[in-house]
Amino acid sequence: MMLLLRQIILLTGKDLRIEARSRQTLGLVIVLGILIIVVLGLGLGPEQLTNGASATAALWVAYLFAGVLVFEKTMSVERHDGALASLLLAPIDRSVIYVAKLISNLILMLILALVITPVAVVLFGFDLSAAPWQFVMIMAMSILGFAAVGTLFAAVVSSTRLQGGLLAIVVLPLALPLVIASTQMMIQLFRDGKPIGGTGLTVLLAADVLYLVTSWLVFELILEP
């Protein structure tokens, strides 16, 4: 158990250190997220933005597209200098590689979220005071599920030559239950003022569990140098 934990920390640390040194992904992805939110804010305009809860939709679009870039990047670092082959030869369980990549992705997504969520909340006039912690919880659970499938498919897709948009198109439809559940819950919470029922949280929880378990199991089968 301790060995697994150490391996995960080692691998995650490696990925984050690469990102910190190259500083490629994070800046790009944060700015992209902000741009997406601004475009949506401009496009919808004051008459349609009657309720701040539409910030959720803008956030989702930003998370989905920026997130896909994050997942592509953390997987593509393995393509340089035969890094993936070395990783596979090392005495590490494949599922450990999955968990490590997932945590790297989650940390990057978290940083992304910390920046662009306030941007969206402000630009869309989203009053979170009614249920701030539920908002955080819903977004956190949704991002977890999204990162779980995203990490899996980034690995599946990564060695394909023609990549443009391939990861986005496979991950987006799979993430739709998360989008539906979270936006419906936001509407319930903030527009209708009702507390979240058990169903919504169950759906998010079930989604997270399903995505995590499936991705973890399937990851074993798909990693090829």
Binding site: V149, L152, F153, V156, V157, S159, T160, R161, L162, L166, I169, V170, P173, L174, L176, P177, L178, I180, A181, Q184, M185, Q188, T199, G200, T202, V203, A206, A207, L210, Y211, T214, S215, V218, L221, I222
Partner: protein, 242 residues
């Protein structure tokens, strides 16, 4: 590849066609019109069996995808591809007939109701399966990516179902079925199921044959038909004599 006896195939398809025709006649001539919704309710007899068979085809995609991940044999990929095509066609039918029904019942082609949203997402899930295939050149890579996608997409379906139930359902539609209506509905399951099995099988066999043809690369025409006599050097620079 074993050929299907063309007589059997012919009888199968003719029977299916005949049953479909009978079914249509039943719907419009024999089945009574539902009182509250009017004639548009008749869409139900087509919509429901197709919806069930869509789910059945999704299961075939799932099983075939698991099969590929487990055995890595191309035939699983062909089967998954075939079933996915049927899912897309059927889900399109479910979606369109649902929209037509909605248009007649509520005046709008689209409402974000649980049922319609579910149909839309299901259709999208499997459209993506078909659309990504041409983007991936290596046939093994393609089969792999699609197999993983096929597995996760199927597991996603109950999640979509649960999540859309959070949406407001303005127009619940539950219908009381008289005996004549129940008969028609049950009857329609026969040709629709035959169609499903037939279409998946036909598409699967087609995919196998196409893959077999792609393996045999087209040979270029030889320049001259007379064989070169033994002992003639192949070219000036060549050392070997054949």
């Amino acid at each position: 590849m074993k050929q299907i006896n063309p007589i059997f195939s012919g009888i199968y398809w003719l029977t299916t066609l005949a049953l479909l025709v009978i079914g249509v006649v039943m719907v419009f001539a024999y089945t009574p019109t539902e009182v509250t919704m009017g004639p548009v309710q008749k869409i139900f007899y087509l919509h429901m069996p197709i919806a069930i068979c869509t789910f059945f085809s999704c299961m075939v995609v799932f099983i075939a995808s698991v099969g590929y991940l487990w055995q890595r044999k191309a035939m699983w990929d062909h089967l998954a591809h075939a079933a996915a095509q049927v899912v897309v066609i059927y889900a399109a039918i479910v979606l369109l007939t649902g929209m037509i029904w909605g248009r007649a019942a509520w005046g709008a082609w689209w409402q974000w109701t649980p049922r319609l949203t579910f149909s839309l997402v299901l259709w999208l899930l499997y459209v993506v399966y078909l659309v990504i295939r041409p983007s991936i050149e290596s046939s093994q890579r393609r089969a792999m990516i699609c197999a993983v996608y096929g597995v996760v997409a199927f597991l996603d379906v109950p999640l979509v179902y649960l999540s859309v139930r959070l949406m407001p359902d303005i127009h619940p539609t539950s219908i009381e079925l008289e005996p004549a209506m129940r008969n028609t509905l049950l009857f329609w399951f026969i040709p629709v199921t035959m169609l499903t099995v037939g279409l998946i099988t036909a598409s699967f066999r087609l995919a196998k044959r196409q893959a077999a043809c792609n393996v045999i690369r087209e040979l270029p025409m030889p320049k001259s038909k007379t064989p070169r006599p033994l002992g003639t050097p192949l070219s000036s620079g060549n050392r070997g004599v054949v």
